[in-house]
């Protein structure tokens, strides 16, 4: 019998293990938070892809912001982002978090888009997006992680 070998690189093992076991911390404010709870529910199950709910912020890899973020919540969201450890990713779910949504031009307390305060990896459009759309988006994020360091992250000063 001939011995069999698998050749790989350490980087690929790291990306494979990170992408397949992401800890998710969801920051849901409004209707989109209900769709995220449905996405973790029994029908549109995201745990089969490796995503797991995590309450401890320091151990979370992925922050999901769902729903409109108001001016009063800006400090909280930034604090949560600062406490996460690298590698960390942020996903913005729903049109209120993407661009301000239905409150554009009418409300003065809603921040028109979370990308004004945090660096975002993925935007999921919808009002609210279906749970399947959220899972599809998270799978795209997995592909982005597997592609690895070839995609550079945009560095802005958000602190």
């Amino acid at each position: 019998m001939e011995p069999t070998f698998i050749t790989t690189s350490w980087q690929k093992i790291k990306e494979w293990s990170l992408g397949n076991a992401l800890n998710v911390h969801s920051f849901g404010t409004s209707c989109c938070a209900l769709e995220i709870q449905a996405a973790s529910g029994p029908r549109y199950d995201w745990e089969r892809f490796g995503f797991l709910e995590e309450n401890n912020i320091a151990e979370a890899d992925l922050l999901i912001i769902a729903g409109p973020v108001t001016v009063r919540l800006e400090e909280r969201v930034k604090e949560i982002y600062k406490q996460m450890r690298e590698p960390r990713f942020v996903v913005s779910v729903g049109s209120c978090a993407n661009t301000g949504g239905m409150f554009i031009g009418k409300s003065t307390t809603v921040i028109m888009g979370v990308d004004k305060i945090l660096p975002i990896d993925l935007f999921v459009p919808g009002c609210p997006p279906r749970p399947e759309a959220i899972i599809h988006a998270l799978l795209q994020l997995q592909k982005k992680i597997f592609a690895g360091s070839k995609i550079a992250k945009e560095k802005k000063n958000y602190a």
């Binding site: 209707c31 449905a38 409109p68 108001t70 919540l73 009418k106």
Partner: protein
């Protein structure tokens, strides 16, 4: 020696339905000595937005106040505008509206059951209740395309024609609903963990209910009844009676929808367009939602935008009492008390 705990939570951590709130506690050896609940973080100025658009478009903003009871807010706002503008909804539209409202009430109470199960650690029951809730979301999606019922109830009637397939699927879902209640009877409702943890927790007396103006299942569980609503098996005002009151209401709603399933002939709505301008007056309408009585005060001016709309949420009154309910309670029970009151923070903040 006391420690101060600042506990910021969102939907996934401790709160029952909706939104973001903070809880500042001081505890001494595990028993809470001071509590203050903070809300107002997600104030989106819904009422100001409703003043900036014509009457027909403001429905969308009213629904977002409490997304678990979105058809109820759309209904009470539409009823106010119809009263002011002398619009009469045809009987078929009225029946479809009442079917949608009862389905929404069942769906909201099942979500309440799943949150209680989650905070007690019974994760299998949590997933089981969510699975049952998905069937009601399917019904709403079949009717109007949105899983939460957004855009189903409009001024002048309802959005879509109801088909035979929708009514057939309603019947099937109601039969499943009765089986669901039988199945969770032994595993959940008679569960010794639930009975021992919820019994005797956070009594709300009758006098407090009358003085604060608490309405809905919280008031009925303390023995204050208005109108013909069912009464649960216990009425002494603790968390277990609030829980069993809502189970009883699911049963009552399942029976009520069955009687409404044959619709009269006719149109399902009346056309109302953007330029609809009622006369200048003010009106107060209300509806009994799944959390209590929702009041809407509408001031109309002469043109096609409202002068002012004021939505009064039912969770306001229950929330006012939480600061006192949390005193002297063990810190592990704090989340359970807030969950058992079925408070929706997104409607308190609007």
């Amino acid at each position: 020696m006391s420690t101060t705990i600042i506990h910021e939570s969102n939907l996934m951590l401790a709160s029952s339905s909706a939104g973001y709130h903070g809880l500042i506690l001081e505890e001494d050896g595990g028993i809470i000595t001071k509590a203050k609940i903070k809300f107002g973080y997600t104030h989106r100025q819904l009422e100001a937005c409703m003043r900036a658009v014509p009457y027909t478009m403001a429905n969308a903003f009213a629904e977002k106040a409490d997304f678990l009871a979105a058809p109820f807010y759309a209904f009470v706002y539409s009823a106010a505008v119809e009263a002011v503008g002398n619009i009469i909804v045809p009987p078929r539209g009225k029946k479809i509206r009442s079917i949608l409202l009862e389905l929404c009430r069942i769906q909201s109470h099942i979500f309440f059951l799943s949150q209680i199960a989650r905070s007690l650690g019974l994760t299998q029951i949590h997933q089981f209740c969510l699975r049952e809730r998905e069937k009601y979301c399917d019904l709403f999606e079949l009717y109007c395309g949105s899983r939460l019922g957004f855009g189903a109830i409009l001024i002048g009637g309802v959005a879509e024609e109801s088909t035979d397939g929708f009514l057939f699927k309603c019947e099937k879902t109601l039969r499943d609903g009765r089986e669901f209640l039988i199945e969770i009877q032994e595993a959940f409702i008679n569960n010794p963990i639930l009975q021992s943890r919820l019994r005797g927790l956070a009594y709300i007396r009758k006098e407090v209910v009358m003085r604060l103006g608490i309405t809905g299942p919280n008031a009925r569980a303390s023995g204050v009844f208005f109108g013909d609503f069912p009464s649960g098996s216990l009425n002494n005002g603790d968390s277990l009676s609030r829980f069993s009151q809502r189970v009883e209401e699911i049963k009552h709603s399942l029976n009520a929808v069955e009687k409404e399933l044959n619709l009269p002939e006719g149109a399902y709505s009346v056309d109302v367009d953007d330029k609809f301008s009622p006369r200048k007056t003010n009106v107060l309408t209300n509806v009994e939602g799944p959390r209590g009585q929702i009041n809407v005060l509408l001031f109309s001016s002469g043109n096609n935008r409202a002068e002012q709309v004021r939505l009064v949420p039912p969770s306001y009154a229950s929330l006012r009492h939480v600061d006192d309910l949390l005193l002297g309670v063990h810190i592990d029970d704090a989340a359970l008390i807030i969950n058992s009151l079925d408070i929706s923070f997104s409607e308190v903040d609007r």
